[in-house]
Amino acid sequence: MSIGHALLGLLETGPRHGYDLKRVYDERFGQDRPLAYGQVYSTLSRLLRNGLVEERGVEAGGGPDRKRYAITDAGVTDVSSWLVTPEKPEIYLQSALYTKVVLALMSGRDAEDVLDAQRRAHLGAMRELTQRKQRGDLADQLICDHALFHLEADLRWLELTTARLADLGKEVMP
């Protein structure tokens, strides 16, 4: 995800201090990883350089964290076009899991154990997400669900592969 675009989007609701931006970002999007200050300022200076934001005065007390930033027209255009540009669907053709399964089969190990272990791990993660989802607000729920659906997709693949292990075995070890 593009942090620059996210910050631009937040600035669209009104000028903010850098510190403010980090706080709001963490609240909304920073579920797993809070932004580092350094990252905020480097991003902002990049945006400033590209003319997407501008400085709007400095509050008394000075210092970089006391600067107020506002979005420029070019910035607004940039956010708009970012929002309507679809994300590229991520395709993991070189899945580590696939590699593991094939290697297990080739080395004569129990591939089903590999898959089951993975499955347990996945389900454990999903369980955790589900609990978090139940505790959190709507935003938490949506974000957790996103992750849950992805994990579920993996799990489905695991199930399918388990069901096809016999066939796969014949193919990799003719």
Binding site: D116, Q134, L151, E152, L155
Partner: protein, 225 residues
Amino acid sequence: MNEPLLRGVDLRKSFGQTPALDGAGMGVAAGEVVAVMGPSGSGKSTLLHCLAGIVPPDGGTVSYGDRDLTAMSDKERSALRRSEFGFVFQFGQLVPELSCIENVALPLRLGGAKRKAAEQAAREWLARLEVDQLADKRPGEVSGGQGQRVAVARALVTRPRVVFADEPTGALDSLNGEQVMRLLTATARETGAAVVLVTHEARVAAYSDREVIVRDGRTREPVVI
């Protein structure tokens, strides 16, 4: 981990030539939600039926507390199911001509409760499952998710020690399914009931504390730690 409340050991069951269960076993402790997962036709439902004493297994034992279900008569098992177990199925379990509240009150009334008291309790359960506004509607007049919540209320109204749910969200969309699962597991945990949850959906299974995988009639329970 607690001593399992309900435990099936080495269960075998065949329908004609097809073995539906071939040495399956699992346990569930009080207050625990266990998901039974596996592909379609792997024997999940059969396992649930055996554990619940609906179907006597061909081999193996099912014990509930210190009682042996497999040694009980059909009548005793019926009585046990009536008093200690609750059931939620995929669909079509509500009696179409009874209103929702009457459906929920049904197990209590069949247990001999007075109509007033039974419907009072039923109303409370409907409220807990957030469908109290449907009390006087017939099952045909409510949506699938609402009907399923009514069914959960009916399963819980007798305060069962074990709730058996066989694909309770199978006929629902994700949102409704999530709601039903949330309410089912939350209320079951509140009342300390054990839940045996049969599902092939990982997201539904994620509401459990633990999962048991069934494959070709055999369970692959992870080593209990």
